[in-house]
């Protein structure tokens, strides 16, 4: 109880130091005093450490299961393994916001520390704009979602964490995703500051690029972890459902990707200044909108924690204040001397970046409209509609074809102007791609026209990207990420069209045939664990060559809270995943068995890791050819 109070006070201290930072920064803009700058340092550090202290206090109360704390009571249980006691901290609304604050304050401290070479006023304005966000979130936490609320009398046992959240991938998913989201707040603050101080130039772009890359890499990682979790935990073998909550993490990713390309052009060619600023603002707005939509419970989704509307209204007002502020600043300080004077040639890297941004914004608009349109329609006409996979497939897939083609040639363009000469190698590329496409199509069961050109464009993209590795003076970070993307698209495509599935209701001892495999249900065992009891089935999969694989799917019945989950058994090989789940059938000895063959599943994860690796590589590589 004393601990919780201390945690709360520490948060209050953090809020106070935010005000102090804000004040010092404002004062220092006019006066330029060295000791004020030192004070900003001190207060930023104080603010960071006060959040660290409250974070660790909450962590400690989770570890010792102090149920006098309401957050612990609602989301933990004394029999839970220690790992999930710790991760239970951010498995709920209050704790995850505290984590959010922790990342937010550490980033601004890191920014101030690492930007010593940049103009003073730019740094100060960035801190000021960022502190507005920090203060907003501090007040949000303290007012509507205090993680240190105290319960009296002290309950003897907690309610427990939802078992589908008790999972290693999901345990580290929120911190990674938050680093990505929160990184965009620095990008946002920095763009506004650069605009106010007239610092939107290639130097700024060079420094901002680092932040964009960090956010982008972490966001990619967060999305990957979420998908992996959905794949094996939600129990039906999908990894992306166009669920609103997934869309929300995809939207900032799309605009960040656009910004990443745009900022490179700004760095190299001093072009697209206003557009970079707009993208920075949009990216952060999408992150906050995401928080709003998830936290308010407006969305109907697998992932939402139900919440009371007062929180939603707070974030909503906060979001629109931020939008208003950034628009006012944008219209006052907008770069008026239009850069249109600079010529852009059709065959140039500038054009390819524009085309990349064009498609990214289109994809973004599809996802955004698809996510919010049902909300608007419901409010205005009281009609409820669902926007699901058919909508996204229809609007995205046809546009992917030109996108892949542009993406294949884009990176080989040079800045300013490319001299296109007809080369014999083009014919080779074409023939090679056609041959590879024909070979691929031969192995596929479905053969419609759209699919064939989709495969063709993708194969072309992969080949072109691969050859880029062998060129002189090439950007390997970019090549890696592009290759990862091409592989990702290929594996998703093959996975989605050649997955097979069979659903059977069978008894122990029975077997069934799936394609050229024989699946036998051998036995059922029960197993008692501290926080759940489970029913484990043993399945034998025998293929043509009498090779045997054993699979052990589970049904778990957790005791706190009492929830039954179905744990898939997955056998991963390089070419395909075998995926099996079982479910009990009421009053009978039958089990509902779902057996799936998912080709190239592991390549989806591997190629995303390659994308992430490309991003990491770019963060750490020192730019040699900067001019």
């Amino acid at each position: 109880m004393i601990l919780s109070n201390a945690g709360f006070l520490s948060l209050l201290l953090g809020l106070l130091s935010s005000f102090a930072v804000f004040l010092c920064s404002v004062l220092n803009i006019k006066k330029n005093l060295l000791n004020l700058e030192n004070k900003i340092y001190k207060f930023l550090t104080l603010q960071f450490f006060s959040v660290v202290i409250s974070f660790f206090i909450l962590l400690y109360t989770f570890i010792i299961s102090d149920f006098s704390n309401e957050t612990v009571y609602n989301n933990s249980h004394s029999t839970k393994p220690i790992f999930y006691k710790i991760t239970g901290l951010w498995g709920n609304h209050e704790g995850s916001l505290l984590l959010w604050l922790l990342v937010l304050t550490s980033f601004v401290l890191f920014f101030f520390f690492s930007s010593k070479d940049e103009p003073k006023n730019f740094r100060l304005y960035t801190v000021i704009f960022h502190q507005i966000i920090v203060i907003g979130f501090f007040i949000f936490v303290l007012k509507t979602s205090n993680p240190f609320d105290i319960l009296f009398p002290i309950p003897s046992e907690g309610l427990g964490l939802n078992p589908i959240l008790q999972d290693p991938a999901l345990a580290i998913h929120p911190p990674i995703l938050y680093v990505g989201y929160v990184g965009t707040s620095i990008i946002f603050a920095s763009s506004l500051a650069a605009m106010v101080t007239g610092y939107v130039n290639n130097l700024w772009a060079k420094n901002l690029k680092k932040w964009v890359l960090i956010s982008w890499t972490f966001l990619t990682g967060g999305i990957l972890l979420g998908s992996i979790w959905a794949y094996y935990e939600l129990g039906w073998g999908g990894f992306w459902f166009w669920d609103p909550v997934e869309n929300i993490s995809l939207m900032p990713w799309l605009s960040l990707t656009a910004l990443l390309h745009c900022i490179l052009t700004l760095e190299k060619r001093d072009l697209f200044k206003n557009w970079s600023i707009i993208l920075s603002i949009v990216t952060f707005m999408l992150s906050v909108t995401g928080t709003f939509l998830v936290r308010s419970g407006i969305l109907n989704s697998v992932h939402t924690f139900a919440n009371d509307p007062s929180r939603g209204i707070y974030i909503l007002i906060f979001l629109f204040v931020l939008i208003l502020v950034s628009f006012v600043i944008f219209f006052i300080f907008e770069n008026k001397n239009l850069e249109n004077k600079k010529e852009i040639f059709f065959l140039s890297k500038e054009t390819s970046v524009l085309i990349n941004n064009w498609f990214m914004i289109y994809f973004l608009s599809v996802v955004l409209i698809g996510t919010v349109y049902p909300i608007f329609l419901d409010v205005i006409t009281s009609e409820k509609i669902s926007v699901g996979p058919p909508f996204y497939n229809k609007l995205l897939i046809p546009f992917l074809i030109p996108f892949f083609l542009f993406m294949s040639v884009g990176p080989s363009m040079s800045w300013i102007k490319t001299n296109l000469k007809f080369k014999a190698s083009y014919i080779y590329y074409f023939l090679l791609t056609s041959a590879a496409t024909i070979a691929t199509i031969y192995f596929l069961t479905q053969k419609d026209f759209l699919l064939i050109i989709l495969v063709f464009s993708l194969v072309f993209l992969s080949i072109k990207t691969l050859t880029n590795f062998f060129k002189n003076n090439t950007n390997h970070a970019q090549n890696l990420s592009h290759l990862g993307f091409a592989m990702l698209m290929l594996s998703i495509l093959f996975n989605s069209i050649s997955s097979t599935e069979i659903i059977k209701n069978i008894k122990v001892g029975e077997s069934f045939i799936s394609k050229n495999e024989k699946i036998t249900f051998e036995e059922v065992k029960t197993n008692e664990q501290k926080n759940y009891s489970s029913i484990i089935g043993t399945f034998e999969v025998k293929n043509k060559n009498n090779k045997i694989i054993k699979l052990y799917p589970e049904i778990r019945i957790y005791n706190q809270p009492v929830i039954a989950t179905s744990e898939a058994a997955i056998k991963t090989t390089l070419f395909k995943d075998r995926f099996i789940t079982i479910n009990l059938i009421k009053d009978e000895q039958l089990f509902n068995v779902r057996y799936q063959n998912k080709p190239f599943m592991i390549w989806i994860w591997i190629s995303t890791l390659i994308i992430i690796f490309g991003g990491t590589f770019a963060v750490f590589s020192k730019k040699k050819n900067y001019s």
Binding site: L234, W236, Y362, T381, F399
Partner: protein, 136 residues
Amino acid sequence: MTLNKSGRLLMVKKKFMVFLFLFVNFFGNCYSETEPYSKLENDIAKNLRCLICQGQSIYDSNSEFALSMRIYIKDQIDNGHSEDQIYNMLVKKYGQWIVYDPGYSKKTFLLWFIPILFFLLGGAIIYLRIYKSKKI
């Protein structure tokens, strides 16, 4: 700061949800036929929302509602109804909410149109930007 009324209500609600979950998941599924589902049935099930679940399709869900719906779909296919006819029947009963495909209608015109507009506008802006800069 004791458990207030809304807190208690929430607990009751939570308990209720736990029971519901338990029954749905554990004692669920009366369906005992051993036939596998056909591809058409799975495709239809993937395009239908499980109305009592949170963001799951009929295909993904093991709730009573979803299982009955699967049998219903099967019956309708056996009765000779086409995929679209089945969607229409269900939309009549449960509203547009049940199908994941929003379809083309007056209500969804903007849903399809806005992204396309973005695409066209973007293309136009890029064209103008390159074309204009050439003239100067």
